[in-house]
């Protein structure tokens, strides 16, 4: 009888010990949208963090594409099942900022950790984009990118173009594209990913013209689009004209056109610097250059705006969880982690120290393509046209623009008509979204 009792006490004691041990580890859930190689980086990083300490455990969960991850996060929040950390793409930034009660600013969280939060350690252009107008940093920039130019060196050679000089301006790009097409070096001269992000949002910033009122939405949610101004009309009419004979080929709304470039169908291609991995993988003989600009615009090239994604933290979690998130973000900000992330993935480093570190290591001399997006983003202090683009419903407005662009490229309307309609429909959608 007593024997039995001791056994029970021991068993109970073990149970208590094991359960209190598992209570000590705070789990932090992280929903992300990184497939393939970038997803492996996520796995490796969280594993490294989890092994580096014993208090917190970050659990990453893959939630599909960028828009899918955002929608999953929002649906989970509505069902009161929100994850601790959610990765949200650039276009979703305004959506998250519009939901003040749902999120916890990253600046507040990082101040809760053991180390004090110092904003000046991070790249200013990127931090500004993820901050409120008053300067409070709201989300943690995990992967940032910028659009650059890729070209096929073999096709350039065949067309009689200099394979070591990428075209710098849009007129030079069209010239080269026409030469590629007429010489028969390739079926098409030029293609592009993301017409909204590259040819509209970054086009405006890079040429220092207005995309929308209120500093493109950075200064306030009430925005009127300005994308039917003369320079935009000229640029899109050029694209529409080149599309008629197939010198420019449209590939899709996001990065579907990449296949047209890697398969050798098109000679010149614009895409995110984060798209480099697939191009390297294809084994093609490629070169890279800056995003082209308009020579007639006097401040061009100005600076590009950040793309990619950032990490948002939901409100209503325990202090213990926020401390864990702070520890994880501080881990991600470490110079050696950032340098590695930048060099492995092709995304931009988030801290200045990581950039300097990579520079010193001689990495850019061997891989000049990796420095282009950083120089583009940091070359000049941003103007009111180039701090970024923000709307509470940017994904929706991008879709409206895409629809009008497609109808224009199909020859159903001119650039002026397409952009006028895009502005009219976009403004109406923005008004509805902000409740006016």
């Amino acid at each position: 009888m007593t024997n039995h009792g001791t056994k029970l006490t021991v068993a109970f004691g073990i149970l208590l010990a094991s359960s209190s041990a598992s209570f000590a580890v705070t789990e932090i859930s992280w929903w992300h949208a990184m497939p393939g190689a970038n997803g492996e980086v996520v796995q490796a990083l969280t594993k490294e963090f989890n092994e580096s300490q014993s208090e917190y455990k970050v659990v990453p969960v893959f939630k599909g594409t960028y828009p899918e991850a955002l929608n999953a996060g929002i649906a989970a929040f509505r069902a009161k099942q929100a994850p601790d950390i959610l990765q949200v793409f650039d276009a979703g930034t305004g959506v998250m900022m519009g939901a003040e009660g749902a999120i916890k600013p990253v600046a507040d969280i990082l101040s809760m950790g053991e180390t004090k939060f110092d904003k000046s350690l991070y790249l200013p252009g990127i931090v500004a984009y993820y901050s409120k107008p008053d300067g409070t940093m709201l989300s943690f920039p995990y992967n940032s990118s910028s659009p650059i130019l890729y070209y096929n060196k073999d096709i350039f050679k065949k067309a009689g173009l200099d394979e070591n000089t990428p075209p710098k301006t849009w007129p030079e790009v069209w010239e080269a594209a026409k030469k590629i097409k007429t010489s028969g070096a390739a079926n098409c001269g030029y293609t592009t990913a993301w017409m909204t992000w590259i040819h509209t949002e970054n086009y405006a910033a890079w040429n220092d013209i207005s995309w929308g009122s209120n500093e493109n939405g950075i200064g306030g949610v009430d925005v009127e689009l300005k994308i039917n101004s003369p320079l935009f009309v000229k640029h899109f009419q050029e694209l529409a004209d080149l599309a008629k004979d197939g010198t420019f080929r449209y590939g899709g709304r996001t990065s579907e056109a990449k296949q047209l470039f890697t398969s050798g169908e098109c000679g010149i291609y614009n895409d995110s610097s984060g798209g480099l991995g697939d191009i390297i993988k294809s084994g093609m003989n490629y070169g890279t250059g800056q995003l082209p600009y308009e020579p007639e615009s006097k401040n061009a090239p100005q600076n590009t705006i950040p793309g990619g994604a950032s990490l948002w933290v939901f409100a209503g979690k325990s202090d213990e969880q926020y401390k864990g998130v702070a520890a994880f973000f501080n881990f991600l900000s470490k110079t050696e982690i950032q340098s590695r992330l930048h060099q492995v993935s092709g995304y931009l480093p988030v801290t200045l120290a990581a950039y300097e570190d990579t520079k010193k290591s001689g990495f850019y001399e061997k891989n000049p393509a990796r420095e282009i997006p950083i120089k583009q983003m940091m070359g000049k202090a941003p103007t009111e046209n180039s701090k970024g683009v923000r709307l509470v419903n940017l994904p929706q407005v991008r879709d409206i623009l895409n629809e009008e662009y497609e109808n224009m490229l199909a020859g159903k309307q001119t650039a002026q008509q397409a952009l006028d309609k895009a502005v009219e429909r976009g403004n109406a959608a923005i008004k509805q979204a902000i409740g006016q």
């Binding site: 828009p67 929608n71 929002i74 929040f77 509505r78 959506v95 519009g98 939901a99 009660g101 749902a102 599309a243 449209y250 590939g251 899709g252 709304r253 579907e256 056109a257 296949q259 047209l260 398969s263 169908e265 419903n393 994904p395 929706q396 879709d399 895409n402 629809e403 009008e404 497609e406 109808n407 490229l409 199909a410 159903k412 959608a429 509805q432 979204a433 409740g435």
Partner: protein, 296 residues
């Protein structure tokens, strides 16, 4: 009289118990979401549900005044008629042909039924792999003949592509029912007609086709509902509603406004309208069209 033939259960609760699973499923998968949609359709809410405001019928008013909504209604009508007609015509042709095959009948039938087992999204991907202008094998062949195949920009070609994919998937289902329908037609009728000198075409149009009417009618209802609701996966995979809004059907618009654009009120109002359309369509079909169907 009638009461004497009716089956009566000795236990009062047993019939309810037996009905319970079906009722539960209907309640959970129809009444619950439908009532939520109706509730959401009179509210204005931000994506996160932080602020909710009752707006009455404002969402319906906006949706019905939206030219894009009327456009997607038109797209849906064209898409559904084309898909139902093509899927049924091909299935009938194949069923009549397969009925004549003497050897290996089972093999033919099995092969023709296969595509039905393919999920809509996968069917969409298959067609995309063949006809995507950037990577499609058949698209490449088409383009190399000089034909400007570009469903990414040409809206008619995009529509042809989604109709083809949607009807290809539905042919199997229709085939199955037509084969069964053909088997239930008495051979003696056809033989009698043949003896009277009716040719094959005449026999088909005067005997087989009218006697298949119940099957055809049933399939018409099923195919229309299929084209309306079950083709989301195909459209999502093949065109994403584009180019422009050329292949944005009503269901796709509900998804797009609700899940991509996060305008929940408008999206819910559209699903309520859609529910009304479907109820009306089914009622009309059964009330008026059914009267003309010859059930033999």
């Amino acid at each position: 009289m009638a009461s004497s033939t009716r089956v009566t259960f000795p236990n009062k609760f047993l019939p309810y118990l037996l009905l319970a699973p079906q009722l539960a499923i209907t309640a959970v998968f129809f009444y619950w979401p439908a009532s939520q949609a109706i509730q959401q359709s009179v509210l204005r809410e931000d994506p996160f549900g932080l602020s909710t405001q009752f707006v009455g019928l404002a969402n319906f008013k906006r949706v019905l005044n939206d030219p894009n909504y009327l456009n997607s209604l038109q797209v849906t009508v064209i898409f559904s008629i084309a898909t139902a007609l093509i899927a049924m015509a091909f299935a009938l042709l194949l069923a009549v042909m397969a009925d004549k095959v003497i050897r290996g009948k089972g093999v033919y039938r099995t092969l023709l039924i296969w595509p039905y087992a393919v999920a809509p999204a996968i069917a969409g991907m298959l067609w995309l792999f063949l006809f995507n202008p950037s990577m499609g094998t058949l698209a490449y062949l088409l383009r190399s003949t000089g034909y400007n195949w570009d469903p990414l920009l040409n809206s008619d070609q995009a529509m042809v592509l989604v109709v083809a994919a949607a009807s290809w998937k539905q042919i199997s289902y229709n085939f199955l029912f037509f084969v069964a329908g053909l088997q239930s037609i008495p051979k003696s009728l056809i033989e009698a007609a043949a003896i009277d000198g009716a040719g094959e075409t005449k026999r088909f149009w005067t005997i087989i086709f009218p006697l298949l009417a119940p099957t055809t009618f049933f399939l018409l209802v099923v195919n229309t509902v299929y084209a309306f609701f079950d083709t989301f996966g195909i459209i999502h995979a093949v065109t994403g509603g584009g180019p422009g809004k050329a292949t944005e059907t009503l269901v796709y618009k509900v998804y797009n406004d609700g899940f991509v654009n996060l305008i929940l009120g408008d999206s819910a109002a559209q699903s309520v309208i859609l529910m009304v359309i479907v109820i009306a369509m089914t009622a009309v079909q059964f009330r008026y069209v059914e009267r003309k169907v010859h059930y033999g």
